[in-house]
Symmetry: C2
Subunit: 427 residues, 2 copies
């Protein structure tokens, strides 16, 4: 079929009719499918079964530190857990604090600390007239949720396949009110892009006006490749190595978790930071808690010592790969060449971004919803839920099984086409 | 022996000499004993061994809610965990949110929320010129640490065996700057007192000037009896039942944890609150995390369904009871009638408070330290670490085994006597 742009009004009306017929058929199927959230599928969760029994009740004392994991203490985590977290992002274990099960919670707490306590002696942001934040868009909705919660003014910076527009970022950090920047540098949410070496180097070399400007480096998908072959994997420069070249190691907070390695609901998460920042964080942390769940840390250490993170992730990939390939296949078969949008082809992570013709994203999502397919809400990948072009749709293929995913994609592709035809007929 | 107060100077000098000789002997023993923190002993941690394998890898989906505990979701906890937490304090499971492993962390987050977000639409405290907090003293050092961290002005209110001086509390809450009150209502830290029915009723009936005044009800030792016989157990009125009689249920935040039930380093913790407060908390919580560790919640639910909390706590009591009885025995044998202080005789919890002659606590603790026995730091149970009388020592007998505890008590009793004699000779 020719591109919709080349069709006459009559041809468009004909196409609309045939799409509506197909759509009606799906509606009658009473589907209930979900491509909304980046949740691991049950089959992926089954992979870590043996972790559940990976602690020996007679060996609960950490061999290296002598810490009894069952008791109080060990504020920054047991050594093996620091090593595990560090190994996932090529960091130094001495620069790691291990927290509970949620890296989002660590990030939330860091922003909270900036607001109310201030970083390293700087003025708490709640005392300032305005605080601004750099938000590469489209980005991760829950990041934007944190900064929105605190009334921080979010500034959109466009993402490219190489990362955020660094010319803009370099300009923005000259404003002392700009205190932070969200990043998912590897297999970005929602595009699956990997920051290029140049982007990482430019971020590492930033000269922000604010002493308390921090790069929030959410390395959520650090080991989450879809392919085992190294040449088919994204490569990200280690941020602290680069930052140190510019004396900028205090500018970086890196976040890591096993949420999509072991369990989304029962993993461990960590933060990597410079000595100065670690000391600063611990001043609050020591008031906040006596320590995080070290038994779960030990469980992770024991399990991954035997299993190996890379090997384990390869088993995840085997489940995810056909799903991503199915998205690519269906989009190509059903949508390529029609002028109805474009999509990303990630090598890792949990998402594909579909970019519709401007003004068609929310309509597509609504059509999907009414045919029983839940997508991430329109605008979600943008600050304040405002997609300026109304063209971004986050596609999350991980949770449904292949058959359900196929059905959901059938519905989605019809909805995209229908929304586009409707839009073209408006003119 | 007669009371030291009745001794002549010469007799005191003689007593001093003999105490110094005993003290020197202990110093030469090169001891390293600890009665500083309320940590469960390894033998207590061994009790919950079977909890480590209490989840079945094939049954990870919560039976009641259908939540896969391994995946994202379930922000407020799985139903069974709410029931478990509620059962420990006779609360309604519908009023519970289950968090991670640390109730201190929940309390910290609640104070943080008051500071930066404000409760139920009230002005965030960071925007106010001054915020004050009622602190029954002696109290729990980590409570005071939280309010100190945020620069909240702490006001001492004396504790009695029936709870805080309620005349003072009723007066203080007339000040709209007073926003909160710390409480460990049952087996208080560090005395082991239980709030009387009258105290609970008067707290429940408070008419604070501030809409956003909250009673922080840290029911840390709710099920932590030392004796199995009911008549030897403390009884605490259920706070929400009382508060509702005055339409005051929005004034209470209750905190519960299994830290000293299952594992201090790997338990679960919860908060009990009114519908209005739960809704308010969830507005922040939904931004802060996708959910706490539900696998660990399931582990607790499964284990305690079979084991029973009361039965499990009775096994803890069997380990703790001889330790508390040894403290009582040694104090009576070595210190009673000498005019060197008094001590509490708790029926539960983790601490005994020893009250020295004014001006002798820090000296006693220093003498202990120099003979290899670590006690909680002088002043710790008071805001700003300032014990106005320098007379309070928190004794934590749980961690050492009976032999070590006996040695530590030998040292302690000699140090108390020596410090008192020194003080009397100063005059």
């Amino acid at each position: 079929m020719r591109s919709y742009n080349e069709l006459s009004k009559e041809e468009l009306l004909q196409e609309k009719e045939s799409l509506q017929a197909a759509y009606k058929k799906y509606q009658e199927m009473d589907l209930s499918l979900n491509m909304a959230r980046g949740k691991p599928a049950p089959a992926q969760l089954d992979l870590a079964k043996e972790m559940l029994t990976a602690v020996n009740p007679e060996e609960m004392v950490d061999a290296i530190s002598g810490i009894d994991t069952r008791n109080y203490g060990g504020l920054d985590g047991i050594p093996g857990a620091k090593e595990l977290i560090a190994s996932m992002v090529d960091a130094d274990p001495n620069q790691v604090i291990v927290f509970g099960n949620s890296s989002l919670n660590i990030m939330f707490d860091q922003v909270t600390r900036g607001m109310i306590t201030g970083y390293c002696g700087n003025t708490p942001w709640c005392k300032l007239p305005e605080v601004k934040w750099i938000c590469p868009v489209p980005g991760y909705d829950r990041h934007f949720g944190v900064t929105e919660h605190y009334g921080i003014k979010m500034i959109n910076v466009p993402m490219t396949p190489d990362g955020p527009d660094m010319d803009m970022v370099e300009e923005l950090v000259k404003d002392p009110a700009v205190k932070g920047m969200w990043n998912v540098p590897k297999y970005s949410n929602p595009q699956g892009y990997v920051y290029s070496d140049e982007t990482v180097r430019r971020i590492a070399a930033l000269k922000p006006a604010a002493d308390d400007f921090r790069v929030f480096w959410d390395n959520a998908y650090c080991v989450h490749h879809i392919y085992d072959e190294e040449e088919k994997q994204g490569h990200l420069l280690e941020i602290f190595t680069e930052a140190k070249k510019h004396g900028n190691e205090d500018m970086i907070f890196e976040f890591v978790s096993t949420s999509k390695v072991s369990y989304a609901g029962g993993g461990i998460a960590g933060m990597v930071a410079s000595d100065k920042n670690l000391e600063d964080v611990k001043k609050t942390l020591t008031v906040q808690t006596i320590g995080h769940d070290k038994v779960n840390q030990l469980r992770h250490v024991n399990y991954f010592k035997t299993e190996g993170v890379a090997h384990h992730m390869s088993r995840h990939a085997a489940i995810l790969r056909p799903k991503f390939e199915l998205v690519e296949k269906r989009f190509t078969e059903e949508l390529a060449g029609l002028g109805v949008g474009s999509w990303t082809k990630p090598l890792g992570g949990y998402f594909v971004t579909y970019t519709t013709v401007p003004g068609c994203a929310s309509r597509t999502i609504k059509l999907c919803k009414e045919a029983g397919v839940t997508m991430t809400g329109a605008g979600a990948p943008f600050p304040y839920h405002k997609d300026p072009e109304d063209s971004t749709i986050r596609v999350a293929p991980s949770y449904p099984d292949l058959e359900e995913l196929g059905q959901a994609l059938d519905v989605f592709t019809v909805c995209v086409k229908l929304a586009t035809v409707e839009k073209l007929l408006e003119v």
